[in-house]
Amino acid sequence: MTNPEIGVLMLGIFIVIILLGYPIAFTLIALAVGFGYYAMGDTVFPLLVQRTYGVMSNDVLISVPLFLFMGYIVERSNILERLFYTLQVAAKNIPASLAVAALATCAMFATATGIVGAVVTLMGLLAFPVMLKSGYDVKLSAGVITAGGCLGILIPPSIMLILYGATAGVSVVKLYAGALFPGFMLAGLYMIYVIGRTLINPKLAPKLPKEQTDVPFKKVFFMLMTSFFPLAFMIAAVLGAILFGLATPSEAAALGALGAIGLAFAYGRLNFTMMKESVFLTARTSAMVCWLFVGSWSFSSVFSILGGHEVVEHWFAAMQLSPIQFLILAQLIIFLLGWPLEWSEIIIIFVPIFLPLVKFYGIDPLFFGILVALNIQTSFLTPPMAMAAYYLKGIAPPNVSLTQIFAGCLPFVFMVIIAMVLLYTFPGIALWLPNVLY
């Protein structure tokens, strides 16, 4: 066998082992060591340790534990409850007010925490029963909670874009600037969908009885000031500091974490237990993500030394795709990868394989990254592997079936696809802000 063929073998074994379910980080390191030893003998050891140290001293990834920490603190500070009740009364005059409030709460809380599962389960307990009790359509309510909960990995400051930036060598600042409008656009499309369907068929989301929404303006204002604005201010400050170049993403993340601690204190929820829990969970999740990087960077070094990248490029070159065909194919593959894999694995392991091709076809890696970020939304929502749907099913009342939840997710998957088509047709949605700012 020639070296490139060995490289393909390495990729093949890797895929088989993934399917067997062995921890991916160690699979990657082991394959890198084994195949690297074959390709270059003892030199593989310094290579491995250099890649490990490369992850340890990477100044982009510093923000990963910090944003996680901020997320875990916000998650435990009880802001969700206040946020939802406030937005619920604030949105009372809008059609489908509960659904719109739930969407807005999900989007905002998810943006601050970045943890899909937590948002979906918490909102599933808090907002879902309220919506059902008010006579809202089960499918519509389920779709709102699941789709809304996933927005946090797209709308900056999201961890996914940091991982993409570290993988693709694209500036995280530019990625944040690029993802801002597409993120708002998707959230907006969700709202338009919900309001639109309710206008066509008001039975889906009956108007709330007057006494439930009859809150004096002063009270609403006070509620907004104590729940919505502090969190909105925190997110805006973190994001603004990054976008206007006042602080690096990791510095802004540190300030965000400090702000989250302050917020938890203000709500009387700061105590040693929640601090401990947040610290330990941060350590575990950071270790999971960063060891995946150690594995992936070692693996892809050996893969490219063996010449595996060229083989993949030849395959694609032989297909004679136009850039747009390539783009569609790549997004389709990532869409399919979303079934067996989680987004962190797709970004850290498979994006490096696509990147040389992205450059080959003359596509801006920044633009590609935003498309991928949108695309990954679907991996949480598309049956049969839709994680968000399973989270909701786990806590929903027993008479809500998984099929109903799946059916509720699907329209939102179409909204994501519409968003991707819009983004492709008008790349300015993503590229305008980074171009203006930098």
């Binding site: 399917l19 379910g21 062995y22 921890p23 991916i24 980080a25 160690f26 699979t27 390191i29 082991a30 394959l31 060591v33 050891f45 491995l48 340790v49 250099q50 490990t52 140290y53 992850v55 340890m56 510093i62 990963v64 534990p65 910090l66 920490f69 998650e75 435990r76 009880n78 969700l80 009740y85 943890i115 599962g117 937590a118 389960t121 918490l122 307990l125 808090l126 029963p129 439930q212 006042l246 510095e251 540190a254 300030l255 974490a257 601090m275 401990k276 610290v279 330990f280 941060t282 350590a283 575990r284 950071s286 270790a287 999971m288 060891w291 694995e345 592997m385 989270y391 786990g394 806590i395």
Partner: protein, 208 residues
């Protein structure tokens, strides 16, 4: 045997949790650095180095702790549905075929890497009078050692799993919120009970 397993777990957990606090330190030092820069126009010289050293220390030393919680991500589409004996059998063979060679390579390579750094008395080049880096680099073989140790415990768990068809228990620890919530829901608790335990009022109470 169970005591031996839990003893190894506690070592990994203790090390991991100890270093986990680096994130709080990282939050505070980085915020202090920004504060000094904007308020006093006097940025610290050590801010940049301190940040990546704290971050790197955090994740590399939490590797074994994460392993002890079965927290390293798996592609579990098929794995999830396999009987325990299969899971344990696959894991067992791959611990020997993949995990130990990988971790031993990391220890071996990391040792040489750290030794060289100690000999050179290497310091960071990112700032004048940069902090020494040899302690930081020594963490690679040390992290490898703790992973190796935890790997032994995991291997024994697999052997027990293959034999008995059941996974031996792990130490209790904090879990992701969604896991906690789903677990409580499975135990039959109602939504408002779960929310209540977290100190969140449900809709009925708020109305009152």
């Amino acid at each position: 045997m169970q005591r031996f397993l839990l003893a190894i777990d506690s070592i990994s957990v203790w090390v991991g949790k100890g270093f986990a606090w680096a994130v709080l330190l990282l939050t505070l030092t980085t915020s202090y650095d920004v504060f000094m820069r904007y308020v006093f126009r006097d940025p610290t010289a050590w801010g940049y180095d301190a940040a990546y050293i704290l971050y790197g220390t955090l994740f590399i030393m939490a590797g074994a702790y994460t392993l002890s919680r079965n927290g390293h991500v798996r592609g579990d589409v098929l794995y999830r549905f396999m009987p325990v004996r299969w899971q344990a059998g696959i894991d067992l063979s791959l611990y020997f075929l993949f995990f130990f060679p990988a971790v031993i390579a990391l220890m071996y390579a990391g040792f040489d890497f750290a030794k060289l750094s100690w000999i050179m008395k290497e310091r960071s080049a990112a700032s004048p009078d940069g902090p020494p880096l040899y302690h930081f680099k020594t963490l690679i073989p040390i992290a490898g050692f703790f992973l190796f140790l935890q790997g032994i415990a995991e291997t024994i768990r697999c052997i027990i799993g293959v034999r008995t068809g059941q996974w031996p228990p792990r130490l209790h620890d904090v879990e992701e919120l969604e896991k906690q919530i789903l677990e409580e829901a499975r135990e039959g608790k109602s939504g408002s009970e779960i929310l209540g335990e977290m100190g969140i009022r449900d809709a009925e109470e708020v109305k009152k």
